[in-house]
């Protein structure tokens, strides 16, 4: 069985500072890893994914994530946070050959002015 852990319920950061939202995973095969963002009363928006290749993945809105196989982590990062980045962030994993996603419980990011 696969699982995803997002150890922080909430991350607080000041505007202009770098941000990190943590994600670790557990799977028995090769994973596909995803980050989504959700604004209030909206569906999930895709940010970025790791399939294979370069461990540093760049995505939408200046976000990036680093795949670390030895630590089974896929942390989301941004060099300079914006107030508009405040939202709920989900990490998800999918096994090769399967379409269902397993999600973490989500991390609320609050960026203060």
């Amino acid at each position: 069985a696969q699982s995803v852990a997002q150890p922080e319920d909430q991350v607080n950061v000041a505007e202009g500072n770098p941000l990190t939202v943590k994600c670790t995973y557990s799977v028995s095969g090769n994973p596909y890893l995803f980050w989504y963002v959700q604004y209030p009363n909206r569906g999930l928006q895709f940010l970025l994914k790791y399939i294979t290749g370069d461990n540093l993945v760049k995505g939408s809105y200046g976000f990036e994530a680093e795949f670390n196989k030895s630590q089974t982590s896929f942390h989301l990062k941004k060099p300079s946070a914006l107030v508009s980045d405040s939202a709920l962030y989900f990490c998800a994993v999918r096994l090769t050959g399967y379409s269902t996603l397993t999600f973490g419980k989500g991390t609320m990011l609050l960026v203060s002015p």
Binding site: N41, R42, I51, L88, R94, S99, T100, L101, K105, G106
Partner: protein
Amino acid sequence: SQTIHQWPATLVQPVGSPLSLECTVEGTSNPNLYWYRQAAGRGLQLLFYSVGIGQISSEVPQNLSASRPQDRQFILSSKKLLLSDSGFYLCAWIKSATSTDTQYFGPGTRLTVL
């Protein structure tokens, strides 16, 4: 380009009433389709998924059912709603399980059962 729609956007229903939520996808054929529920603005629970017309897999036994009457239409139903059915229902699609494609989500339906 592909688009996913959900209808209605919000719904308030009394306990014991029936439910029908609709999801449609445009711009693709034979997608895999999913229904999720999100309670209390947090974690996502996969309810059903479908790999083709008439093919439904249930992940969690409960008061809900799903149907796929057409290739790009996915319906979530209930005969009698419970208070615990309240939540934010999200439909999603992916082109194929064997591809590296992304799962994309619809705008969601906010269901309140009173």
